[in-house]
Symmetry: C2
Subunit: 202 residues, 2 copies
């Protein structure tokens, strides 16, 4: 799931980079995309090492991840950055939680390939500056962020419903459904804090 997520994030972020107002900014989002594909390579290599066919291993997650991106195509630079900041961070938090249920080697690999915080910083600074220049931007981007999270949750439920092994891993990892609730609460709190940090409201 993470491997296909990286491959797709590369593709979408590379396209979103065209929305940048100037070439140096375009380059930063392009580099952000570039780091996704470098991470993808590490995950694919690990899948091969485990004797799995990467294409087959990724197949069950394609529809949900494709849908998420199809439903959340940014229309401008700030929407693209908000997507990178809000969407990728919440996904990262989720993968970080799940990584804890894996063996030490795979856990470390997942933690290694999660997003570099300097890109989140770049996105956060751009969003803050845009809101400072025009406070009305905050409302628009807050609505956009809510849509991103809603769409992500809807696709996550789809994966959970279709993939019992995935749900089982999380339930086995957390211990019970109460703990799954606690996990969701941690994800939500971190998300709310991130929104507040750039002047968006949840």
């Amino acid at each position: 799931m993470l491997a296909y997520g990286e491959l797709l994030a590369f593709d979408r972020m590379a396209a979103d980079a065209r929305l940048a107002p100037d070439l140096p900014r375009r380059a930063v989002l392009s580099e952000m995309a570039g780091s996704e594909i470098a991470n993808y390579r590490r995950l694919q290599d690990r899948l091969v090492q485990l004797g799995t066919d990467p294409e087959a291993a990724m197949a069950p997650f394609r529809a949900a991840l494709d849908s998420y991106h199809d439903q959340t195509e940014p229309k401008d630079w700030l929407e693209a950055l908000t997507k990178a900041y809000v969407g990728d961070s919440i996904a990262d938090d989720f993968f970080r939680e799940v990584a804890a249920f894996l063996g030490p080697e795979d856990c470390q690999l997942v933690l290694d390939v999660l997003h570099d915080s300097r890109y989140a910083e770049f996105a956060a600074n751009e969003i803050r500056a845009a809101i400072a220049a025009d406070p009305k931007v905050a409302n628009r981007l807050s609505m956009w962020a809510r849509r991103l999270v809603g769409e992500a949750l809807s696709q996550a439920q789809r994966v959970a419903a279709e993939r019992e092994t995935f749900t089982d891993l999380i339930i086995a990892g957390t211990g019970d459904l109460v703990s799954v609730g606690a996990l969701l609460k941690r994800l939500t709190s971190a998300h709310t804090a991130r929104m507040g940090a750039v002047g968006l409201n949840n």
Copy 2:
């Protein structure tokens, strides 16, 4: 020119990767794009170090490079690979020649950021396999390659006509117009050899 070329190559190659017949192949072209943007960063950093505004430094080359890519948008996977193999290699040869006229530090930087030969190998192998499976492919791709080179030459002439400092650099570097002719001849010979190596004709 090379910096903008890398930034744009990233963008186009990332989009072309969607044409891949499977995810692992798509990932290879995506990685190839990723290496372009890493190279871009090195060139941009050098431009900043030289006290130049990167955006302004790249501006004179945008129209010609944009046109080249607009006129040579691949319609399928083999066209995308042929573009990467034929187009990028001839551009690399050109930049390699011009690099020799720069100071040692910039010369080394340009040589460093030129394409990794393993990607050219990947493209060449895919093209060879496609021709082996269906010899008619060779004709179609040969025509496509000629179009790529024609479009590249036409845009190169445009840059040369508009940018005297660029033309002056090459004439000063080669010594005279006769040597410019020799340079073009070297580029053409290397291109012809590459075409033949994968079963295409010039």
